[in-house]
């Protein structure tokens, strides 16, 4: 029965995509299908939650493309959390998309919604994957179905962005991830995600470090430097794509894979010392990306580099490989999703209502779009890590984990990065509310963006605050990931 829910989570968006493609000429029906599909998917995923909380691990196995390597799904708490976030935010994002796509008169809207549904199906596949081969399959599918979304505008800029996007994501996964998976299979004879890891004593510490490097750089979606450029390149996409996929589904799939592989393939005990280099690389990524974000004038570009930096928070926490830090990684994965999607929603709303894309144009815009910029401020607070925004919780746990292990480097990186975050977000908020509009700026009258967009971004901003107070539930789920590890 629960296995059926897993299949349902994969099939519902597929079916939705099929129906959407049949309703190209009736936009209202099409959008209704998108909404119904996303809601159904969320319910289907949520129905798995009680079983997982009770300690059940719903699983199902489909085909066996390679001898001994079936396509298998197994729901564990981490995947559960990721699936809940992705499917839940899809509903909100769909509402937002309708406002955005209509408000900007975008073309090829049917293709857009179909690809979106397919991307969600692939995301569910990643979340519930029971072994590396299944994970890899859906990982690649996600790259491919999001390519048409990234290149949605079909112009030269889109094509160039698409090349970087595809080249880096497909390239890293084939060059590093695939050999890493094959090698894991060769060494252990399994690719199943198992509690405590499957690489016990087969590898020397040096070999473990190399294999870890292949995995970490192979997961290009986690945007570890120097393979991060696809993320800013993907910003040529319409904003709803950037919001759900490049702040939530795709990038979170990346760090989700990182956590999953460190916890269930390597095992926390195995990594002793082998992940030190990863701490350094992700620490560097956090700071370097923040500095670039500081200098970016284009709002979406600034957000993208902020994402690159925040993703490495998760990676650095996972690399510490202590239960407390892993919990921090998981919490950060969750709370960053809500904060960042709010920021992207706001960016899209500004673009739709005011046709502005650069930070330097935003002086005084808070007076015309108080709701949007208010939500933006909450998102920004969350990313900086100031209570009562949820971002604080993730940061708190990562820092506790670092402090526990006396990782001064990590603490220093996080502290500096917090300052940098504040430095690139707070001026935006300040300018929007407290500066007078620039003289000479075109003064065409505009108010807030269309109501579906405003509703969506208010909701996610509200959730960002609510999660701070509801964090006990998140903690409960995250604790289950590490609790079984000694």
């Amino acid at each position: 029965m629960s296995g059926g829910h897993v299949l349902g989570a994969l099939a519902i968006p597929l079916l939705g995509g099929l129906l959407i493609s049949g309703c190209a000429r009736r936009p209202n029906v099409r959008e209704a299908i998108t909404l119904v599909t996303s809601a159904t998917l969320f319910l289907c995923v949520a129905a798995l939650l009680p079983a997982v909380l009770a300690g059940g691990r719903p699983h199902i196995q489909l085909l066996e493309p390679l001898a001994g390597l079936p396509i298998a799904f197994r729901v564990e708490p981490l995947g559960m959390l990721f699936a809940l976030i992705a499917s839940g935010l899809w509903i909100v994002n769909s509402v937002y998309s309708i406002g955005y796509m209509r408000g900007n008169d975008e073309k090829h809207q049917t293709r857009f919604y179909v690809c979106f549904a397919l991307a969600l199906s692939a995301t569910m596949g990643i979340a519930f994957a029971g072994n590396l081969i299944t994970l890899f399959l859906f990982y690649e599918v996600l790259t491919l179905v999001t390519y048409p979304l990234v290149t949605h505008h079909g112009d030269d800029a889109a094509r160039r962005g698409g090349r970087v996007y595809l080249g880096l994501l497909l390239g890293t996964s084939m060059l590093f991830l695939l050999p890493a998976i094959v090698y894991t299979w060769h060494v252990t004879g399994t690719t199943d995600f198992q509690v405590g890891g499957i690489l016990k004593t087969q590898l020397s510490p040096a070999a473990t470090a190399v294999l870890l490097a292949l995995f970490m750089f192979g997961i290009g979606k986690a945007a570890l430097m120097p393979f991060h450029r696809w993320l800013p390149a993907a910003m040529v996409a319409p904003t709803p794509v950037s919001a759900l996929l490049h702040a939530v589904a795709v990038v979170k799939a990346g760090v989700f894979c990182v956590i999953k592989i460190i916890v269930y393939i390597f095992g926390l005990d195995q990594l002793d010392g082998s992940a030190d280099w990863l701490v350094a690389v992700s620490g560097f990524t956090i700071l370097a990306a923040s500095v670039i974000a500081l200098r970016a004038d284009n709002l979406k570009r600034r957000l993208a580099y902020s994402t690159v930096s925040q993703l490495s928070y998760v990676v650095i926490a996972a690399a510490l490989a202590t239960p407390l830090a892993i919990m921090g990684a998981i919490l950060h994965l969750a709370v960053h999703a809500f904060g960042k999607i709010t920021l992207f929603f706001a960016a899209g709303a500004i673009y739709t209502a005011a046709h502005k894309t650069d930070v330097s144009e935003l002086d005084g815009i808070g007076r015309r779009m108080p709701l949007t910029m208010g939500a933006f401020a909450i998102g920004a607070l969350s990313l900086i890590g100031i209570p009562p925004a949820a971002g604080f919780i993730g940061k708190w746990f990562i820092m506790s984990g670092a402090a526990d292990g006396r990782h001064l480097f990590v603490l220093a990186v996080l502290a500096i990065s917090t300052l940098l975050n504040a430095a690139y977000f707070l001026p935006v908020v300040y300018a929007a509310f407290f500066r007078a509009p620039k003289a000479g700026a075109e003064m065409h009258p505009h108010g807030e963006a269309p109501w579906p967009m405003v509703a969506a971004l208010l909701f996610t901003a509200g959730m960002t605050v609510a999660l701070f107070f509801l964090s006990a539930n998140l903690l409960h789920l995250a604790g289950k990931v590490v609790a079984v590890n000694p």
Partner: protein, 494 residues
């Protein structure tokens, strides 16, 4: 069941007889029906043989009741039944497509001749796979090659004649080398029966004549299978042949040659001799790697889709021979399963390209710009085939790649594993040339107001597109046969 006993003979005789029948009726329509029916019957026979040998059994059939080694023996084991299945299934799918396709490309008066030649080519390819006799293999090789030259020359572009001529010269050199090799072996062993030859060759294996025979056979067959750098005939032949001929030959001709090479290496000379006493694996390794990189790079700079895919074939053949050069069970499995999967992929790709050519009137990338807006299904099919060439998981191209990497890592050869994945990135480069042309450009003038190709063309292509996905996810037939055959060959090849 006496009929079931004669299945090995029927496998070859049915398509053979359909050829003169097609000439006798002298009508394109009737010839089409006869040859198509024959190809389906051949498919049925191949399925029956495949099932009969699935448990590892070997069927020996004495042609004309002359017992081997004096008479010609047809011998079906897991390997040959796998190849028979591949060849006959391709023919059965491609023939229904041929009717609508040659309508546009070949003058009406020549249609019945086309079908006759097609039937002969099919006969030859099936014959190579089924025969247990070295000289008989040469005869079938010539049947398939000669009819192949004619089929290529039927292309409507005048350059098809030059392409066919080029292939004729290269193919004849290959066939000559082959027959010299067979002659030397006959001289040394006094037999033409492959199984018998294998037994008698043991004592004299390291004589100079046998070595010369091996060299002649290797070069001759390598010409036929287009091993880099002996592939010069292939790009032109694939580019200018009629669409359906390209699809059929790309899926079968080179694959059957690979079968022949494997047969001689493992079942006649013996694995330990070929791969451990001689530097053959090293030579083959270098050629394969060169094919994977050079041909992929060349493909990325082509301006004609058929030629681009032809160079891609050369590079994919490199994958197949690379697996062969590993000389391990997993390496051989990689070779065999990729042989099958690449046939499915390239066959399907060329059928889709044929659809595009039928509508756009040419296969140059310039003419196909904006194709996706006019022919979404065809474009999607080509992209899907391209993904399989890249080896994206979920498509059949992934399976072979997985085993190639696994086999390399088993030997501790990280460099080779990296070579395989790097080469597949080059495939991304050439596949994306089509993607960007078809999806990001305005439609070419010749596409204005056009629609998808008719169902008669589209349906077989879509069937193969489905097969690309099917064999990427459910591999009991493809991988099962390949792995079974690999285990068998490695066991007896010692």
């Amino acid at each position: 069941m006496s009929l079931a006993l004669h299945l090995p003979a029927l496998q070859v005789v049915i398509p053979l007889i359909s050829a003169p029948l097609a000439v006798l009726v002298r009508r394109g329509g009737w010839a089409f029906l006869i040859v198509t029916a024959a190809s389906w019957a051949a498919l049925a026979a191949a399925i029956a043989l495949w099932l009969a040998t699935a448990d590892g059994a070997t069927i020996s059939y004495a042609l004309g009741n002359w017992p081997p080694p004096w008479g010609i023996e047809y011998r079906v084991d897991r390997l040959s039944s796998f190849v028979l299945l591949l060849v006959s299934a391709t023919a059965a799918i491609v023939l229904p497509y041929a009717r609508a396709s040659i309508e546009r490309e070949i003058p009406h008066a020549q249609h019945y001749l086309f079908y006759a030649m097609f039937a002969l080519c099919l006969t030859g390819l099936l014959g190579i796979a089924i025969t247990g006799d070295a000289f008989n293999a040469f005869v079938f090789l010539e049947i398939s090659s000669l009819s192949g030259y004619v089929l290529i020359a039927l292309g409507r572009d005048r350059r098809a004649l030059v392409a066919a001529y080029q292939y004729l010269i290269m193919g004849s050199i290959g066939a000559t080398f082959f027959v010299i090799g067979v002659g030397l072996l006959y001289l040394m062993t006094g037999t033409l029966n492959l199984a018998d030859m294998a037994e008698r060759i043991g004592a004299i294996r390291e004589s100079r004549s046998v070595l010369a025979a091996l060299a002649f056979l290797t070069v001759g067959i390598s010409l036929k299978l287009a091993l880099f750098p002996l592939h010069q005939w292939l790009p032109n032949a694939y580019t200018y042949a009629p669409s359906v001929v390209t699809a059929f030959l790309a899926a079968t001709a080179t694959k059957v040659s690979i079968y022949l090479l494997i047969r001689f290496y493992y079942s006649v000379f013996g694995e330990s001799f070929v791969f451990q006493k001689l530097p053959l694996p090293e030579i083959m390794l270098v050629m394969s790697i060169a094919a994977m990189f050079v041909a992929s790079l060349v493909a990325a700079f082509q301006n004609d889709l058929k030629r681009l895919l032809a160079y891609s074939s050369v590079s994919q053949i490199g994958y197949i021979t690379l697996g062969l050069s590993y000389d391990t069970v997993n390496g051989l499995t990689a070779s065999l399963v990729h042989m099958f999967n690449h046939a499915v992929t390239k066959g399907g790709l060329f059928l889709f390209v044929g659809c595009a050519v039928a509508v756009a009137g040419g296969s140059s990338l310039a003419r196909l710009s904006g194709l996706a807006r006019v022919m979404p299904l065809t474009s999607f099919g080509i992209v899907l085939g391209g993904l399989s060439l890249i080896g994206v998981p979920g498509t059949c191209g992934f399976i072979g790649k997985w085993y190639l990497i696994l086999a390399a890592l088993e030997k501790g050869q990280w460099g080779l594993a990296m070579a395989v994945v790097t080469s597949s990135l080059l495939a991304v480069a050439y596949v994306w040339r089509f993607v960007e042309t078809a999806y990001f450009r305005e439609p070419h003038a010749s596409l204005a107001g056009r629609k998808e190709a008719p169902p008669a063309l589209l349906a077989p292509a879509l069937l193969l597109a489905g097969a690309m996905l099917y064999f990427g996810l459910e591999t009991s037939v493809s991988l099962g046969s390949a792995a079974g055959a690999a285990v068998m060959l490695m066991a007896v090849g010692k």
